[in-house]
Protein backbone atom coordinates (compact mmCIF):
# COMPACT_ATOMS: atom_id res chain seq x y z
CA UNK A 1 0.00 0.00 0.00
CA UNK A 2 1.50 3.33 -1.04
CA UNK A 3 1.76 6.06 1.62
CA UNK A 4 -0.67 8.37 -0.19
CA UNK A 5 -3.44 5.74 -0.11
CA UNK A 6 -2.57 4.92 3.51
CA UNK A 7 -3.25 8.54 4.52
CA UNK A 8 -6.42 8.57 2.42
CA UNK A 9 -7.63 5.52 4.34
CA UNK A 10 -6.79 7.25 7.66
CA UNK A 11 -8.72 10.34 6.53
CA UNK A 12 -11.75 8.26 5.48
CA UNK A 13 -11.76 6.43 8.83
CA UNK A 14 -11.35 9.77 10.69
CA UNK A 15 -14.40 11.15 8.85
CA UNK A 16 -16.31 7.94 9.60
CA UNK A 17 -15.28 8.20 13.26
CA UNK A 18 -16.65 11.75 13.50
CA UNK A 19 -19.88 10.53 11.85
CA UNK A 20 -20.11 7.56 14.24
CA UNK A 21 -19.23 9.73 17.26
CA UNK A 22 -22.00 12.23 16.57
CA UNK A 23 -24.56 9.44 16.02
CA UNK A 24 -23.40 7.53 19.09
CA UNK A 25 -23.60 10.66 21.28
CA UNK A 26 -27.24 11.08 20.23
CA UNK A 27 -27.92 7.40 20.95
CA UNK A 28 -26.60 7.57 24.51
CA UNK A 29 -28.27 10.97 25.08
CA UNK A 30 -31.67 10.71 23.32
CA UNK A 31 -32.66 14.10 24.79
CA UNK A 32 -30.37 15.89 22.31
CA UNK A 33 -32.46 14.69 19.33
CA UNK A 34 -34.08 17.71 17.72
CA UNK A 35 -31.42 20.12 18.95
CA UNK A 36 -28.40 21.41 16.99
CA UNK A 37 -26.73 19.58 15.26
CA UNK A 38 -29.37 16.82 15.23
CA UNK A 39 -31.82 18.73 13.07
CA UNK A 40 -33.20 18.25 9.57
CA UNK A 41 -32.75 21.09 7.12
CA UNK A 42 -35.13 19.50 4.61
CA UNK A 43 -36.73 16.01 4.71
CA UNK A 44 -34.99 15.07 1.45
CA UNK A 45 -31.55 16.18 2.68
CA UNK A 46 -29.26 14.59 5.29
CA UNK A 47 -29.39 15.99 8.83
CA UNK A 48 -27.03 18.75 9.93
CA UNK A 49 -24.80 16.37 11.90
CA UNK A 50 -24.16 14.39 8.69
CA UNK A 51 -23.08 17.57 6.90
CA UNK A 52 -20.76 18.43 9.78
CA UNK A 53 -19.19 14.97 9.81
CA UNK A 54 -19.04 14.31 6.07
CA UNK A 55 -18.34 17.77 4.66
CA UNK A 56 -16.71 19.84 7.42
CA UNK A 57 -14.22 17.14 8.51
CA UNK A 58 -12.54 16.72 5.07
CA UNK A 59 -12.56 20.51 4.60
CA UNK A 60 -10.93 20.96 8.01
CA UNK A 61 -8.27 18.37 7.13
CA UNK A 62 -7.66 20.20 3.83
CA UNK A 63 -7.33 23.54 5.64
CA UNK A 64 -4.84 22.03 8.12
CA UNK A 65 -2.86 20.64 5.18
CA UNK A 66 -2.80 24.03 3.44
CA UNK A 67 -1.77 25.91 6.62
CA UNK A 68 0.90 23.45 7.76
CA UNK A 69 1.94 22.69 4.12
CA UNK A 70 1.96 18.99 4.90
CA UNK A 71 1.00 16.60 2.10
CA UNK A 72 -0.34 13.93 4.43
CA UNK A 73 -3.24 16.13 5.59
CA UNK A 74 -4.19 16.83 1.96
CA UNK A 75 -4.24 13.07 1.31
CA UNK A 76 -6.32 12.53 4.45
CA UNK A 77 -8.74 15.20 3.21
CA UNK A 78 -9.05 13.37 -0.13
CA UNK A 79 -9.89 10.10 1.62
CA UNK A 80 -12.40 11.89 3.84
CA UNK A 81 -13.93 13.52 0.76
CA UNK A 82 -14.44 10.13 -0.96
CA UNK A 83 -16.26 8.87 2.14
CA UNK A 84 -18.16 12.11 2.79
CA UNK A 85 -19.33 12.83 -0.77
CA UNK A 86 -20.44 9.21 -1.28
CA UNK A 87 -22.29 9.13 2.05
CA UNK A 88 -24.05 12.47 1.54
CA UNK A 89 -25.05 11.66 -2.04
CA UNK A 90 -26.25 8.14 -1.18
CA UNK A 91 -28.22 9.36 1.82
CA UNK A 92 -29.78 12.18 -0.21
CA UNK A 93 -30.93 9.74 -2.90
CA UNK A 94 -32.34 7.40 -0.24
CA UNK A 95 -34.21 10.23 1.45
CA UNK A 96 -35.57 11.41 -1.91
CA UNK A 97 -36.82 7.84 -2.50
CA UNK A 98 -38.54 7.87 0.94
CA UNK A 99 -40.14 11.25 0.28
CA UNK A 100 -41.32 10.04 -3.15
CA UNK A 101 -43.01 7.07 -1.41
CA UNK A 102 -44.92 9.47 0.83
CA UNK A 103 -42.83 9.04 3.96
CA UNK A 104 -41.38 12.00 5.84
CA UNK A 105 -37.92 11.12 7.13
CA UNK A 106 -37.30 12.91 10.44
CA UNK A 107 -33.91 13.48 11.99
CA UNK A 108 -32.14 10.53 10.44
CA UNK A 109 -33.00 7.47 8.46
CA UNK A 110 -33.70 4.44 10.59
CA UNK A 111 -32.06 1.12 9.89
Amino acid sequence: MDSSYKYMLIGAFATGAVDAGLEAYKNVNPAVAGTVPYIVIHPALPALNCWIADAVTPLALYAIGKVTKKRMFIDMAKGGAVYGVSELLGQTLYRVALVAQGQTPTYRIAR
Binding site: K78, G79, V82, L98
Partner: protein, 150 residues
Protein backbone atom coordinates in the same frame (compact mmCIF):
# COMPACT_ATOMS: atom_id res chain seq x y z
CA UNK B 1 -18.10 27.89 -16.39
CA UNK B 2 -15.40 25.43 -15.45
CA UNK B 3 -16.40 21.80 -15.01
CA UNK B 4 -15.57 21.04 -11.34
CA UNK B 5 -14.92 17.37 -12.18
CA UNK B 6 -12.09 18.45 -14.53
CA UNK B 7 -10.35 20.06 -11.53
CA UNK B 8 -9.98 16.63 -9.91
CA UNK B 9 -7.18 14.38 -11.12
CA UNK B 10 -8.25 11.18 -12.96
CA UNK B 11 -7.11 8.86 -10.14
CA UNK B 12 -9.24 10.75 -7.64
CA UNK B 13 -12.18 10.70 -10.07
CA UNK B 14 -11.99 6.90 -10.24
CA UNK B 15 -11.78 6.64 -6.44
CA UNK B 16 -14.79 8.92 -6.08
CA UNK B 17 -16.66 6.75 -8.59
CA UNK B 18 -15.70 3.66 -6.57
CA UNK B 19 -16.96 5.30 -3.38
CA UNK B 20 -20.25 6.09 -5.10
CA UNK B 21 -20.57 2.44 -6.21
CA UNK B 22 -20.28 1.38 -2.55
CA UNK B 23 -22.68 4.07 -1.34
CA UNK B 24 -25.33 3.52 -4.01
CA UNK B 25 -25.32 -0.27 -3.56
CA UNK B 26 -25.81 0.22 0.20
CA UNK B 27 -28.68 2.70 -0.10
CA UNK B 28 -30.30 0.86 -3.03
CA UNK B 29 -30.44 -2.17 -0.73
CA UNK B 30 -32.15 -0.07 1.96
CA UNK B 31 -34.81 0.98 -0.55
CA UNK B 32 -35.27 -2.66 -1.67
CA UNK B 33 -35.52 -3.79 1.96
CA UNK B 34 -38.82 -1.91 2.24
CA UNK B 35 -40.42 -3.93 -0.55
CA UNK B 36 -42.65 -6.92 0.23
CA UNK B 37 -40.62 -9.42 -1.80
CA UNK B 38 -37.41 -8.77 0.15
CA UNK B 39 -36.16 -11.96 1.91
CA UNK B 40 -36.73 -11.84 5.66
CA UNK B 41 -33.43 -13.61 6.37
CA UNK B 42 -31.52 -10.60 5.10
CA UNK B 43 -33.36 -8.32 7.51
CA UNK B 44 -32.20 -10.34 10.52
CA UNK B 45 -29.11 -9.76 12.59
CA UNK B 46 -26.39 -12.15 13.67
CA UNK B 47 -26.13 -10.21 16.93
CA UNK B 48 -28.37 -7.36 18.12
CA UNK B 49 -25.35 -5.05 18.30
CA UNK B 50 -24.36 -5.67 14.68
CA UNK B 51 -25.95 -4.07 11.61
CA UNK B 52 -28.53 -6.08 9.69
CA UNK B 53 -27.30 -8.93 7.50
CA UNK B 54 -28.05 -7.04 4.28
CA UNK B 55 -26.11 -4.02 5.56
CA UNK B 56 -23.12 -6.25 6.28
CA UNK B 57 -23.44 -7.81 2.85
CA UNK B 58 -23.67 -4.51 0.98
CA UNK B 59 -20.70 -3.15 2.93
CA UNK B 60 -18.41 -6.12 2.32
CA UNK B 61 -19.44 -7.35 -1.15
CA UNK B 62 -18.82 -4.19 -3.28
CA UNK B 63 -15.12 -3.75 -2.31
CA UNK B 64 -14.56 -7.49 -2.67
CA UNK B 65 -16.15 -7.56 -6.14
CA UNK B 66 -14.27 -4.43 -7.22
CA UNK B 67 -11.02 -5.94 -5.94
CA UNK B 68 -11.55 -9.09 -8.03
CA UNK B 69 -12.46 -6.95 -11.06
CA UNK B 70 -9.34 -4.85 -10.43
CA UNK B 71 -7.20 -7.97 -10.61
CA UNK B 72 -8.56 -8.71 -14.09
CA UNK B 73 -8.86 -5.17 -15.48
CA UNK B 74 -6.49 -2.45 -14.22
CA UNK B 75 -9.02 0.34 -14.71
CA UNK B 76 -11.08 -1.09 -11.81
CA UNK B 77 -8.09 -1.04 -9.47
CA UNK B 78 -8.51 2.62 -8.47
CA UNK B 79 -12.27 2.17 -8.21
CA UNK B 80 -11.73 -0.76 -5.84
CA UNK B 81 -9.60 1.50 -3.63
CA UNK B 82 -12.37 4.12 -3.65
CA UNK B 83 -15.01 1.53 -2.72
CA UNK B 84 -12.80 0.44 0.19
CA UNK B 85 -12.47 4.10 1.27
CA UNK B 86 -16.25 4.28 1.60
CA UNK B 87 -17.28 0.80 2.73
CA UNK B 88 -14.64 0.28 5.46
CA UNK B 89 -15.35 3.44 7.49
CA UNK B 90 -19.08 3.13 6.82
CA UNK B 91 -19.20 -0.40 8.23
CA UNK B 92 -17.32 0.82 11.31
CA UNK B 93 -19.79 3.69 11.65
CA UNK B 94 -22.80 1.33 11.40
CA UNK B 95 -21.36 -1.05 14.02
CA UNK B 96 -20.69 1.80 16.47
CA UNK B 97 -24.15 3.31 15.91
CA UNK B 98 -25.88 -0.07 16.34
CA UNK B 99 -23.89 -0.94 19.44
CA UNK B 100 -24.89 2.32 21.12
CA UNK B 101 -28.51 2.24 19.96
CA UNK B 102 -29.98 0.39 22.95
CA UNK B 103 -33.10 2.39 23.73
CA UNK B 104 -36.32 1.68 21.84
CA UNK B 105 -37.00 5.43 22.10
CA UNK B 106 -34.09 5.99 19.74
CA UNK B 107 -36.13 4.63 16.86
CA UNK B 108 -37.96 7.12 14.70
CA UNK B 109 -41.28 7.43 12.97
CA UNK B 110 -39.92 6.15 9.68
CA UNK B 111 -38.43 2.96 11.07
CA UNK B 112 -41.01 0.54 9.80
CA UNK B 113 -38.41 -2.03 8.86
CA UNK B 114 -36.23 -1.69 11.90
CA UNK B 115 -35.55 -5.00 13.60
CA UNK B 116 -35.62 -4.58 17.38
CA UNK B 117 -33.32 -6.84 19.38
CA UNK B 118 -35.86 -9.19 20.93
CA UNK B 119 -33.68 -11.50 23.00
CA UNK B 120 -33.87 -9.25 26.06
CA UNK B 121 -37.44 -8.04 25.83
CA UNK B 122 -39.45 -11.06 24.69
CA UNK B 123 -39.67 -12.69 28.14
CA UNK B 124 -40.49 -9.53 30.06
CA UNK B 125 -43.87 -10.05 31.73
CA UNK B 126 -46.00 -7.27 33.15
CA UNK B 127 -44.35 -7.54 36.58
CA UNK B 128 -41.24 -5.92 35.11
CA UNK B 129 -38.86 -8.76 35.88
CA UNK B 130 -36.54 -9.78 33.09
CA UNK B 131 -36.29 -13.54 32.70
CA UNK B 132 -33.36 -15.11 30.88
CA UNK B 133 -34.01 -16.21 27.30
CA UNK B 134 -35.70 -19.63 26.86
CA UNK B 135 -37.20 -19.45 30.38
CA UNK B 136 -40.98 -19.28 30.07
CA UNK B 137 -42.54 -16.37 31.92
CA UNK B 138 -45.06 -17.31 34.63
CA UNK B 139 -48.61 -17.60 33.39
CA UNK B 140 -50.86 -14.62 34.08
CA UNK B 141 -54.11 -16.53 33.36
CA UNK B 142 -56.45 -16.26 36.33
CA UNK B 143 -57.47 -19.64 37.67
CA UNK B 144 -61.14 -20.60 37.31
CA UNK B 145 -61.17 -21.42 41.00
CA UNK B 146 -60.93 -17.73 41.91
CA UNK B 147 -63.31 -14.81 41.51
CA UNK B 148 -66.93 -14.91 40.39
CA UNK B 149 -66.42 -17.77 37.90
CA UNK B 150 -65.60 -20.46 40.48
Amino acid sequence: MKNPLKMIDPTMQKMLLGGLVGSLSYYADLVLAEQAFYPAALKGRVMPQLPRNDELLTSIAPPAIMYVLGKKKPKFKEMAKGTMLYSGPHLMQRIVVNATNTTPAASFATNGFRVTPTQVFQNTPSNGRIYPPRTPAPSTVVSASAGKYR
